[in-house]
Amino acid sequence: MKKRITAFTLLLLAVAVTLSACGSPGSDSGEKTEKVVLNFFNWGDYIEESVIEEFEAKYPHIRVNLETYTTNEDMYVKIKSGGSDYDIAIPSDYMIKRMMDEGLLKEINMDNIPNYKYIGDQFKNLSYDPENKYSVPYLWGTVGILYNKTMVTEPVDSWKILWDEKYAKQIIMSDSERDSIGVALKMLGYSMNSKSIEELEEAKQKLIEQKPLVLAYAVDEAKDMMIAESAAMAVVWSGDALIAMNENENLAYAIPKEGSNYWFDSMVIPHTCKHKEEAELFINFLCEPEMSLKNVNYIGYATPNIETMKLLDPDKITNSTAYPTAEQLANCEIFEYPGDEINKVYNRIWTEIKAH
């Protein structure tokens, strides 16, 4: 018995030592030449891997270390703690604003990002970064209605259809406070960023009225339920809509005429950055039309890069799931942080709706 256990322990030790000696494919053992290491903090599965490989091939003195996060909030906590030297991150719009206000971002030297010229004008000077000093848009998308063409016969062009009693128990709403309240606000003709308590109360009444018709409040599961055809309509993000439409050809996506929310994930340089010039080189590389194209094809969200759009399959653009037309976008808004006071009202209203 003892011998066997000693052998077992020795074996484990041997495995551990060999593994550490071999060095991992992606981590920092191996040759210790003076390479600049860029720590890239990204959403999981949010970049085509070959893009990183091509970057490293083009700039052999730089190595990219990819680390991933799940939510904007997780990323914020880690960057704020300053324990690790993140050089590039890709937060969403409202988080960029918050990090900017708290001084967690470094100004990007746009002279080092010549490819910034490819970014469409409609994606510049947005409310979260009005002077384009801190962020370069990576991908963007919208919120809309994913519906099943065989179950919904009339045209889907207004949020009002989500209140149609014909579709009782066939509607999936988003289980996200800002998205669902925003839908009700838009249907009533108000801004998605409304700070008026009366408007918000009105939206709350509408959502309570709608509740008996709703099959489920879901986020991630919505697309699976739509693929399985267990619901007729769902409020989803455009990226999820694209994935679902690839799996089930009866599905279609629409952005209602009242307007909707559109969001951005943009590249920023956090205050922890140690290699700003190399980080800018990397951001610039991601804006190369071919590289951006690879990412768009891999992820499915929309690109803000006009040159990339020219390279895209024209079908993908006219099929307005990923790329809404300018008029569709006209009524769309980016979420803004309403301030602590009104944010509490949003929280309270959402709790009241869910508890009703």
Partner: protein
């Protein structure tokens, strides 16, 4: 009655293994969806081995689990022996200190370790991740070794000394073999806990060092890739085969020996 017993057993096994089976079946699904069967494919297995991010996370996960479990087992066993021979008041005080990290929520442990590492200016990365895992593993080893020490006849050690053994020799030749099942249990417990920890790992890692749970969890936004199903299926089968081999060996090797894995 017998039929009832059998049905009960079957229900338990269905609950335990249905999720794993579903996962394995869907690793062969041609469609990326979890709700829809798109035909048989092996492509996720092919893609899995080409995915640099997943492979380096797998590597980190195994290394961290092995190293942290080994260190924690050594440290925990030594601590258990020490605690065992303490006076009563001190013993209950130290035992309470040991229980605390076990009942503490992971998020508290994770954030406080992160703040500590940042405060002492240790760069977050592989080292801090390993230290964090050793920290949360030690109490489990202590708690699984202590009962074995309590069962031990305390005169055995004295007898060994009387017969001329040096204390160290007596410990390795007399005490350790007796408490070995507890030590192995502690090691395995530490190994599994380290394998599937997410929260503490997320907050204490940095510089691009990811474990599998971090990589998988961060895919949630775009939908977890079926590559992960393929990986989980492979891991499940490897563990299953290892267990079968170990149990088979201990069944054939001598009648008096207890099976090696005896939790």
């Amino acid at each position: 009655m017998k039929a009832l017993k059998r049905i009960y057993l079957i229900i338990i096994f269905v609950f335990l293994y249905a999720p794993v089976l579903t996962l394995i079946v869907f690793s062969f699904n041609d469609s990326k969806s979890r709700g829809h069967w798109g035909g048989f494919t092996l492509k996720w297995y092919g893609q899995l081995f080409k995915d640099r991010q997943v492979m380096s996370s797998l590597y980190n996960t195994i290394i961290i689990a092995l190293l942290s479990a080994l260190v924690a087992t050594v440290a925990g066993t030594a601590a258990a022996v020490g605690i065992h021979s303490m006076k009563k008041v001190l013993k209950s005080f130290v035992m309470n200190l040991t229980y605390l990290p076990v009942v503490n929520p992971d998020i508290v442990t994770g954030i406080s370790l992160m703040i500590l590492f940042v405060f002492i200016k240790l760069d977050l990365g592989f080292t801090t991740l390993l230290l964090a895992h050793i920290t949360f593993n030690i109490p489990y080893v202590v708690l699984s070794v202590l009962p074995k020490l309590k069962q031990l006849n305390k005169h055995m050690y004295e007898a060994a000394l009387d017969l001329g053994a040096k204390p160290l020799y007596a410990f390795f030749r007399v005490i350790l073999p007796e408490i070995m099942p507890g030590v192995v249990t502690g090691f395995l417990l530490a190994f599994t806990l380290s394998l599937d920890d997410f929260i503490i790992s997320f907050f204490t890692t940095g510089s691009g060092v990811s474990t599998l749970s971090i990589t998988i969890y961060s895919m949630a936004r775009l939908g977890v890739s079926p590559k992960i199903n393929a990986l989980s299926a492979l891991m499940f089968i490897v563990v299953l085969v290892l267990l079968l081999i170990v149990n088979k060996r201990s069944a054939t090797n001598g009648r008096n020996e207890a099976p090696l894995i005896n939790i």
